[in-house]
């Protein structure tokens, strides 16, 4: 009798445990523990890099270290503000011997300048220096027309000569200065994402290099990252004019609010039109989505210079980009595929 009652309790417990187990196991399968994201913020490449990721096989800290080292390396190699970087040597001596990577970057810069008809120009540095946008602590002022004309004579991407056979880059005119800043930043983000994917293919997260964003992988492995496009007409930093959803690729925005100064009531910002020598006024904000951050960065600058009234805007989708351009009066125009990224997929 005692034995029997013991048995029946045991049976009940078996059934209850199996039932609870099945329910919880199915819950578990459908809601796997969410990855925990680690973040590191560090200054590099003239801006602040924010790496936010969660490793799958490899610990997040290891991946963040890889990212930080890579950014430091690229900063020291290409920043014109670093004493013996390739770009500094080129600007001082007029010629420099390069390796494969640097050759690729110089060639890319040259090609994109040619593609955009000089709207993006890696030799715009003399103008940037003149306006005082080369460094946060430089004095910013409106130069005279003569000064601008003088500086303009040094601005043309065709002054760069790339000798592939001898692995040499040289400047054809004395006084020409190169700045790979925009391209190097995008390239660094792309490279770091590639490195991280090599080490841990299922890692997720993003890299934010001063508003230029590269996606490592979807949020919690399934959701799109929600990216707000900053409202160029608001003084508040974090108000968005539109939202886009990305699970991979990159996005970059050029805006007239990033770095600027006000003189006699007129706002002068840091994106200088290489043709006129003055800050470009055709647009206030250009956002470009592309497969990689380098392309997005280059074209956001180029399309900003080309302005809102750009009849060839749609033509630029041939380069694998989608763009949103906001005019100084608040109108916006976008390429045909841009709306695809404004819809939440999941």
């Amino acid at each position: 009798m005692r034995k029997k009652s013991g048995r029946s309790i045991r049976l009940y417990i078996y059934i209850a445990a199996i039932a609870v187990g099945v329910v919880l196991l199915s819950l578990l399968i459908f809601s796997k523990p969410t990855p925990v994201y680690s973040e590191k913020i560090f200054p590099s490449l003239g801006t602040v890099i924010r790496v936010n990721l969660a490793g799958d096989k490899v610990s997040s800290d290891v991946l963040i270290n890889i990212a930080e080292k890579e950014f430091l390396r690229i900063h020291n190699k290409y920043s014109p503000n670093v004493q013996d970087s390739l770009v500094s040597i080129l600007n001082q001596n007029g010629t420099v011997t390069v390796d494969e990577e640097a050759l690729f970057l110089f060639q890319s810069a040259y090609n994109y300048a040619a593609l955009t008809g000089g709207a993006f120009d890696p030799t715009v540095r003399p103008l940037i220096k003149l306006w005082g946008f080369d460094d946060e602590f430089s004095t910013k002022r409106v130069p005279t027309q003569e000064e601008i004309n003088e500086a303009l004579s040094y601005v043309d991407y065709r002054f760069i000569d790339i000798d592939k056979d001898n692995m040499q880059v040289s400047l054809l005119k004395e006084g020409v200065e190169v700045d790979l800043g925009a391209i190097a930043k995008g390239y660094a983000v792309d490279l770091v994402i590639q490195r991280i994917r090599e080490v841990d293919p299922k890692a997720t997260g993003f890299i934010d290099a001063g508003g230029d964003i590269g996606i490592i992988g979807p949020k919690f492995k399934e959701l799109a990252w929600v990216i707000g496009i900053r409202d160029p007409f608001s003084d508040e930093y974090f108000t968005s004019i539109d939202t886009i959803y990305l699970t991979n690729g990159g996005v970059a925005t050029s805006g007239n609010y990033e770095r600027y100064f006000i003189s006699d009531g007129i706002k002068y910002h840091h994106i200088i039109d290489p043709q006129t020598g003055y800050p470009a006024t055709g647009a206030v904000s250009v956002t470009v989505i592309s497969e990689n951050v380098m392309i997005a960065d280059v074209f956001s600058t180029a399309l900003f210079v080309l302005g809102y009234d750009n009849p060839a805007l749609e033509h630029f989708t041939d380069f694998g980009i989608q763009a949103l351009v906001i005019s100084p009066t608040g109108e916006s125009t976008k390429t045909s595929g841009f709306d695809y990224f404004r819809e939440k997929i999941k």
């Binding site: 973040e39 936010n52 001063g210 970059a252 956002t287």
Partner: protein, 125 residues
């Protein structure tokens, strides 16, 4: 020695209550509320803010850089010494998704808290 007794059910129930308690904590924890801030100088954490108040930030050479204020679940930067004052115009930040960045001083103020599952994750600018 018996395999199971009626009292085992109570043990199991207690354990499951604890499991569900912690699961619900992780699900319903005040999502997206700022509960403090971390201050980074050149990528290294130099200050953890937990209590409300105004905190002064200095660099390695003891030079004053800025004040960080944390009140009512929001963080802002005030009286910054940098030339562009972008960190000040950022204003009050009340979401842990968005750090305040001062590029000239190489300072980042990162509000802490549970990251939002909904809403904007980051901004392109």
């Amino acid at each position: 020695m018996k395999f199971a007794k009626k009292s085992d059910i109570f043990i199991l129930i207690i354990i499951f209550i604890i499991i569900f308690f912690f699961m619900s904590i992780t699900f319903f924890r005040s999502a997206g509320l700022v509960d403090g801030a971390q201050v980074y100088l050149k990528g290294k954490i130099i200050l953890e803010i937990r209590k409300e108040g105004t905190y002064s930030i200095y660099n390695e050479d003891e030079e004053f850089l800025m004040n960080v204020e944390y009140f009512n679940n929001a963080v802002r930067v005030n009286e910054a010494t940098c030339p562009d004052k972008i960190c000040e115009t950022t204003g009050w930040v009340s979401t842990p998704n968005q750090p305040i960045i001062c590029i000239p001083n190489k300072v980042v103020v990162k509000p802490t808290g549970n990251q939002n599952k909904a809403g904007v994750d980051l901004y392109t600018w």
